[in-house]
């Protein structure tokens, strides 16, 4: 009997806390290992090397000699951030508690043709409607709707109100200039009330492995009409170089609708869906893990072109927003 008790006691003690015994140790956090992990993960999973003609191997040869184990965290962050910036992708960032690396060349250096003060003073005024994230005002008989971030949810109720207001207006202007993106669902929530048939607006594929050609087959991205009233008349969409990510997808959706027309400047791009990951020192990073092409097989990563380009200095009208004015002229035609 005593031997049983000893056996039980020993078993209970020995086999308890196995989860801690099985727990692995975290990997090393030396700069060289962090560099290797980040470079390799990007090499395996980033999607636009060929389209951007980036030789990631030569990028490694350029940056690897600058890595040594005496680097301070700030120095290491700057080097890794510069390496990621070679991808020229707004969806690529390195994030620490003290900084966030980025490459914003998709809009830096380009005129934005978007003066918020002018919009407020001349077009929105003080009595505009605030319909969730949408700012709406009547401008020369048209409904002007300003949407500043796709991160803010557009609900079906918000769209019900927009559609209701269209009974009293002759055309719709949706201004998504300098809208840096957010949730693609919000773009679909708007577009799905502007069509009464299912429309394929783009095609998308995702990385499936480390090989350069390891992708899923292209799958269609569709706008599916949602329940509720629809507005099927003319829609003008205003974009600029700072219209990015989900805003680029929205511009592409609108480009495929027969009654819509894009005005202004091309969007900034951002056609790759960002994937998030973490380094062993706690820094996080993100990168594009998919590709999206329009119906003519142009990558949305490089932006959506407008129907009416308004970037020439001669297009500008002193004291007015020439994008809005051009849209109104078209809507009145």
């Amino acid at each position: 009997m005593r031997s049983y008790r000893y056996f039980i006691l020993i078993s209970m003690v020995l086999i308890s806390s196995c989860e801690f015994i099985a727990q692995p140790s975290d990997p090393q956090q030396r700069p060289s290992e962090l560099f290797e992990h980040l470079w390799t993960d990007i090499y395996n999973r980033y999607t636009f090397f060929e389209e951007k003609q980036i030789d990631w191997q030569s990028v490694k040869e350029q940056y690897r000699p600058t890595i040594h184990d005496e680097l301070t965290p700030h120095e290491l962050f700057d080097i890794l951030g510069d390496m990621l910036a070679e991808l020229e992708d707004g969806h690529v960032n390195l994030r620490s508690t003290f900084n966030r690396s980025r490459n914003w060349s998709w809009f830096e250096g380009f005129p934005l043709f978007y003066d918020e003060q002018l919009i407020n003073d001349k077009y929105l005024g003080t009595d505009y409607r605030i319909i969730g994230p949408l700012l709406a005002q009547t401008v020369q008989g048209m409904l002007y709707v300003n949407y500043r971030s796709f991160e803010r949810t557009v609900s079906s109720e918000h769209m019900d109100e927009i559609i209701r207001l269209m009974q009293f207006h002759d055309g719709l202007i949706i201004d998504v200039r300098s809208n840096g993106g957010g949730s693609l669902q919000n773009a679909l929530n708007i577009a799905s009330r502007l069509t009464d048939e299912e429309i394929t607006y783009a095609r998308q594929r995702f990385k499936t492995g480390p090989g350069r050609n390891d992708f899923t087959p292209w799958a269609p991205l569709k706008i599916k009409p949602k329940p509720g009233d629809k507005y099927l008349e003319k829609v003008a969409v205003l974009t600029n170089r700072k219209s990015y990510s989900s805003t680029t997808f929205f511009a592409q959706m609108m480009r495929t609708l027969p009654q819509a027309r894009l005005f202004g400047d091309q969007t900034g791009g951002g056609g790759g869906t960002p994937v998030f990951a973490e380094l062993s020192n706690g820094w996080t990073y993100r990168f594009s893990g998919s590709q999206t092409i329009d119906l003519n097989e142009h990558h949305l990563e490089f932006g959506v072109q407008v129907d009416q380009l308004l970037t020439h200095p001669m297009d500008q009208i002193s004291g007015l927003d020439h994008f809005i004015e051009a849209a109104i002229v078209w809507l009145k035609e």
Binding site: A22, P24, G209, V275
Partner: protein, 255 residues
């Protein structure tokens, strides 16, 4: 429809086994669950923490055969060493079937086990493709030691373990939350079938240990304490590992 054809005979066979005229017991336990988890698709760091875990079980004990079913559920907030959060959910159904073999010593039984486990992982800093998930069904041998002691043999200790290296895994893809085949333009059932990956040696395995000590009450029910250890390593599009130690108080009700 095809999967229903497989599922219905399986459920029927399970219920027929449990319907035999044997000693049947309902098991309920709750306690602390210490766990850690690592998904290389997101991070090489492991996330760990404690939470509450619950189990509902059923056992059917015959002269030469014992069947057990355990349903486990745990919701937990895990953290890495830098304080980043991961919210996880684990649910599993584990079955054991033990047989009394003549060649084994009196206190030992041998059999097989089956585990059907789902793990969902929501990383705080991952705005897209979260949660990542694994579902696996695995099979393997199980062994059990059980002894009674005390003046009236009212104490019972049992220790059992399993090692499963045969099975299949269905998990998040290389990039996205759904498996790759769900991203194709095809029926969901086809996508499901194409997404299943069979276990391969040393790439996927599942092991567990369950230690329990019970005291039998005068009405035949039991009260006891126990420790359940579990470790899973799955390599699919990426490797994920997890382990948990569940310390619990259990009540067994005779049916």
């Amino acid at each position: 429809m095809k999967n229903l054809l497989f599922l219905i005979p399986f459920l029927l066979s399970q219920s027929l086994v449990l319907a035999q005229e044997n000693k049947r017991t309902l098991l309920l336990n709750a306690g602390t669950n210490n766990s850690w988890e690592r998904d290389f698709a997101y991070s090489p760091l492991f996330y760990s923490g404690s939470s509450a875990g619950f189990t509902l079980g059923y056992s059917n004990i015959g002269n030469r055969k014992t069947d057990e079913v355990y349903l486990h559920l745990t919701n937990h907030n895990l953290q890495n060493r830098y304080g980043a959060d991961m919210r996880g959910t684990h649910a599993s159904i584990i079955t054991y079937t033990f047989y009394k073999a003549n060649w084994l010593p009196d206190n030992w039984t041998i059999g097989w086990s089956n585990n059907n486990a789902l793990s969902l992982r929501n990383y705080e800093d991952a705005q897209n493709f979260s949660p990542r998930f694994d579902f696996h069904t695995s099979f393997g041998p199980a062994l059990r030691y059980q002894t009674f002691f005390g003046k009236k043999q009212q104490w019972r200790f049992s220790s059992q373990g399993h090692l499963q290296v045969i099975g299949f895994v269905f998990s998040a893809s290389y990039i996205t939350s759904p498996p790759d085949h769900f991203l194709h333009d095809q029926p969901t059932f086809n996508a499901f079938l194409q997404s299943i990956r069979l276990f391969q040696p040393f790439r996927q395995h599942d092991l567990g240990i369950l230690n329990q000590l019970f005291y039998q009450l005068s009405n035949g029910n039991e009260i006891g304490i126990g420790y359940r250890f579990h470790y899973t390593s799955l390599e699919s599009a990426h490797r994920s590992q997890r382990s948990a130690g569940h310390y619990f108080l259990q009540l067994n009700f005779q049916l």
